[in-house]
């Protein structure tokens, strides 16, 4: 998000000194994510939506569900796609124009976490095989940035999908036709939860905030599904992890992920 300055160096020194005492800048335990709040149905005109605050990071996901053409050779499956964008007021360094590689990575990691978990049951989203299917588009925008967009975006998309309703379409005279009043919940099979961890020195911290994010040597995002299995992973950053650290991060993601999943379930139930 920014190139290193003298202030960045001082911040990193301070963060490391605190970590050596087992502390974080905002008082959290090393494996403790920031407070998560989820507002369901923030955009009533969308088919589903959720505004998520993770500490001071705030993101919004709106889901649009509409007829689309299937991909070639995928005529028996609906379409799921997830995008992410940093709104220009989310941080002074954000630029308008084509997305940078870090934003492309963000969108693809969030998309893959949900896709690889098979959360959205695309086999149920076919209007007419090979001709017309249902497309589910989860578009995420970042409103305020304070680190760890991976998890904030992932939670927003997951919460929005969990609470989405899909209209029903059929083919009438070779024309896609809306069946009025036949809405149903979007078919989902599991609740994927991503946990992003930063490595600073030899410490692994969960859900790095903005200052921690700028000070990280490396990061890892691990997504688990409702069975407690690992379904997606992405390492990033300019340093490496030991094999032990990788295993440790896996364990953290299962354990902390389970807690986040409960919050997502609550939000889903609260919306019904």
């Amino acid at each position: 998000m920014a190139s290193k300055s003298v202030i960045d160096e001082l911040k990193k020194t301070q963060i490391l000194e605190l970590l050596e005492q087992g502390k974080r800048v905002d008082g959290r335990a090393l494996d403790e994510p920031r407070e998560l709040s989820i507002e369901i149905n923030a955009i009533p005109k969308a088919n589903g939506s959720a505004k998520v605050r993770l500490g001071d990071t705030e993101v919004l996901c709106g889901v649009k569900i509409q007829p689309d053409k299937p991909f070639p050779d995928m005529g028996d499956k609906g379409i799921f796609m997830c995008t992410a964008e940093l709104l220009p007021f989310s941080h002074p360094t954000v630029e308008t124009g084509p997305p940078r590689d870090d934003v492309i990575e963000l969108a693809r990691v969030v998309d893959r976490g949900i896709r690889e978990s098979n959360m959205v049951d695309v086999s149920q989203l076919v209007i007419e095989k090979d001709k017309s299917v249902v497309g589910v588009f989860a578009d995420i925008v970042v409103i305020d940035y304070d680190g760890n967009l991976f998890d904030a975006c992932s939670y927003a998309a997951t919460a929005a999908l969990l609470t989405s309703t899909t209209p029903k379409w059929t083919m009438v005279d070779d024309k896609i036709t809306l069946v009025d009043g036949e809405e149903s919940p979007l078919p989902t099979t599991t609740i994927p939860v991503s946990i992003t961890m930063g490595k600073i020195g030899n410490y692994i911290i969960v859900d790095p905030n903005g200052d921690e994010w700028d000070s990280m040597d490396a990061r890892i995002t691990i997504t688990t599904n409702s069975d407690g299995n690992i379904c997606a992973l992405q390492k990033g950053g300019s340093d490496g992890f030991t094999q032990e650290e990788i295993v440790q991060c896996g364990e953290i993601s299962v354990r902390v992920g389970a807690k986040i999943r409960e919050k997502l379930k609550e939000a889903q139930q609260g919306s019904q």
Binding site: I43, K45, L60, G62, Q66, L87, F89, I143, D144
Partner: protein
């Protein structure tokens, strides 16, 4: 996919509109100032079902330098709609419509901002439409004025904004989405009440010269109503009752 309601009554015999409003009544409007953490100033508006966020950065340096002006500051405005803000999902790339509205809003704000006070720098106004419901440009302009004030940018006045229009052969205030689709004319108005100047004006649809005069008048009066809500948003934040 669907189809327009053919038999919608836009204005009934009692002068009540399709959403229950009277002809000189605006939709429900709420504005909140200072809603973003990283921006230098911000505002959130709900104008009927429109939901719009505006964030301000600046005055700040201009890159590349040759885009700056040694005599005056410059205002840069981006009006942008989220993919999920409209009925049919919008593609992320800025459309020609968004580029034009960005320019129209910029020129509506410029008379209000004391640009000469911060030469060589720029003030960026980022407008994001989260949910659209007809009249987004007026809602966006009203919110942008509040956000500029929230950012402490020196201003001559705030620009208020509201559309008037023609529906069922009648001039009405604040055309909503259904009225815009099925109605006869839509006239967005931006107005500075203290300086008594119209800084945004557009028209789509047919009006007789008499209706035109009336329509401008109704729009200006609507702006005066919106102006009070804008002032309240700033008062609430800076001298507020602490409620959220």
């Amino acid at each position: 996919m669907g189809g327009r309601e053919a038999t919608m009554v836009l204005l009934d015999e009692n002068g009540i509109r399709c959403d229950g409003r009277k002809i000189d009544e605006t939709r429900k409007i709420t504005i909140k100032a200072g809603v973003l953490k990283n921006a230098d100033g911000s505002a959130y508006i709900e104008f009927g079902d429109n939901k719009i966020l505006v964030g301000i950065f600046g005055p700040r340096d201009v890159h590349p330098k040759h885009m700056s002006d040694t005599d005056t500051g410059i205002l840069r405005v981006r009006y942008h709609m989220e993919p999920f803000s409209v009925t049919e999902r919008k593609r992320p790339a800025p459309s020609r419509r968004e580029i034009e509205i960005s320019k129209v809003i910029k020129e509506a704000l410029e008379p209000a901002v004391m640009l000469e006070k911060f030469p060589r720098t720029a003030v960026d106004v980022f407008i994001e439409v989260l949910q659209a419901d007809g009249g987004t440009r007026c809602a966006a302009l009203a919110a942008a004025s509040v956000a500029l004030a929230d950012a402490g940018i020196p201003m001559r006045d705030m620009v208020a904004a509201c559309a008037s229009g023609k529906v069922a052969d009648t001039i009405v205030l604040d055309v909503n989405n259904e009225e815009d689709q099925a109605g006869q004319a839509d006239m967005p108005v931006g107005y500075m009440p203290n300086l008594e100047k119209i800084t945004l004006l557009q028209l789509d649809g047919v009006l007789t010269p008499e209706e035109y005069k009336k329509c401008v008048d109704v729009g200006v009066n609507g702006c005066k109503l919106v102006y009070e809500i804008q002032k309240k948003a700033l008062t609430d934040k800076y001298f507020g009752n602490g409620k959220d």
